[in-house]
């Protein structure tokens, strides 16, 4: 718990001391999340078909 509160306090102090850096980090965070979602939808198998196991004739 202490580690977590220390981490939050540290983030808050960075936000106060370096507002531009904090903004850039936020943008990158959102951007990263959007890209992960995009890549998931582009590469995921969206079919709900039961898995077909290929067996030789």
């Amino acid at each position: 718990m202490k580690v977590f509160t220390n981490f939050i306090n540290r983030i808050e102090s960075i936000k106060k001391d370096h507002p531009k850096l904090a903004f850039a980090c936020q943008v990158l965070g959102y951007y990263g999340l959007m890209m992960i979602l995009y890549l998931y939808f582009m590469l995921a198998n969206l079919s709900s078909a039961p898995k077909f196991v290929y067996t030789q004739f």
Partner: protein
């Protein structure tokens, strides 16, 4: 909020740039994509359409494409430097119905107005294509493409729709999408909201197709080329056949003339295979696959594509061992010939090669000699006026 808006803008710029790069990259201008024997490629409308050039001829088949790729006789290697560009479409359990849909979807992009279907006798088992197999190979984007082709008749769409609904019953989610495509693209009985939903979903499927196909092309090492060779570079068929026989003699010394590796895997099961099909008097002669094949030929007729059916034989040595009656085999071949004649379709008939040594790699898939003969028939068909 400002940070989110900036991220969204950055994201949209990235995605747009990716789209244009991928759309340009997916067309490779060489034979690497067309002879790439990968299942995922066969369901890519964007990849197939973008790579149809003046040397491309679709060759529909099934699991044989995944066999013999490490030999010089596989089309992937044999046609690597030719102007002829066979577009291999299929993998295990692809059959006539799925190929009918694909042909109807890619037909508008075809310059060479010919198509080949390599028929495996095993497709013509009594149940026809299995529902799980069909579902696993089904591509919504190709289905929508088939519905959008104005040359495909109402009757053909009705037949394909009926079969698809029956076989896709195990995949409700995809079936819902199929119904939406049909309502909007075919039956014209959709609301405006449904039309918007379908257009949006179709655009998403196309983008997904572009992205995933390009991703697989990169991982497979398929790179952009500098165009097709100006010369035909016809392979020396008699030299290849002699080489295939020589290679076969060196490797396949067993009773079925198949590769030693597959023979060794088969040996423990041989006692149970002996005469197991002795009562298959009607084998490969009845079942829904014949109607599905008829549908493929109908699509060819409706879209002005000249078809050729490659009639693959069974491995005579192995089928004799299992007791599968010769008369049943002969009746199957004749049924295919009759169907081809009914549609005025050309055939490359290899029924008389049942006992050609080294024609097969294993019990059912063609090998060295088989590939040389089939490839020659593809090339000759492509060259005919």
């Amino acid at each position: 909020m400002k940070a989110f808006a900036a991220a969204l803008l950055l994201f949209l710029v990235t995605v747009t740039a990716c789209h244009f790069y991928i759309a340009k990259r997916i067309r490779v201008d060489n034979t690497a994509f067309s002879t790439w024997a990968r299942e995922e490629k066969s369901i890519s409308l964007m990849g197939l359409s973008a790579n149809m050039n003046e040397g491309s001829m679709p060759v529909f088949g099934s699991s044989e494409f995944q066999h013999g790729r490490d030999t010089i006789y596989h089309p992937q290697n044999l046609f690597a430097e030719t102007r002829f560009n066979p577009m291999l479409i299929g993998a295990g359990y692809y059959q006539s119905l799925g190929h009918s849909i694909t042909l109807a979807a890619i037909e508008p992009s075809m310059t060479v107005r010919k198509a080949v279907l390599i028929l495996s006798p095993q497709w013509f088992r009594k149940p026809g294509v299995l529902d799980q197999a069909y579902t696993s190979r089904f591509a919504e984007i190709l289905y929508a493409g088939m519905l959008q082709n104005p040359k495909v008749s109402e009757e053909s769409k009705a037949y394909i729709s009926e079969r698809t609904h029956k076989l896709l019953a195990i995949d409700e989610k995809t079936l819902e999408h199929v119904d939406l495509h049909e309502k909007v693209l075919w039956k014209q009985e959709s609301s405006e909201a449904e039309q918007r939903q379908e257009a949006l979903w179709n655009a998403f499927l196309k983008e997904k197709d572009l992205f995933s196909t390009s991703f697989q092309m990169i991982t497979a090492g398929i790179r952009k080329g500098s165009g097709l060779p100006s010369e035909e570079n016809e392979p020396d068929w008699s030299a290849l056949l002699a080489q295939a026989e020589k290679d076969g003699q060196a490797e396949n010394q067993n009773e079925f003339f198949i590769t030693d590796e597959t023979y060794q895997r088969l040996v423990p099961h041989l006692p149970e295979k002996k005469d197991m099909n002795a009562d298959a008097f009607k084998g490969y002669q009845y079942g829904p696959e014949f109607d599905d094949l008829r549908q493929f030929l109908t699509i060819c007729q409706e879209t002005g594509i000249e078809p050729m059916l490659v009639i693959l034989p069974v491995n005579g040595y192995y089928y004799d061992y299992t007791g599968f009656p010769k008369e049943a085999r002969e009746k199957y071949y004749q049924k295919i010939r009759d169907l081809a004649a009914e549609f005025d379709a050309k055939t490359a008939d290899f029924a008389d090669q049942e006992y050609t040594e080294y024609f097969f790699e294993d019990r059912v898939h063609i090998g060295k000699t088989g590939w040389v003969m089939v490839n020659e028939s593809l090339y000759e068909f492509y060259k005919q006026d």
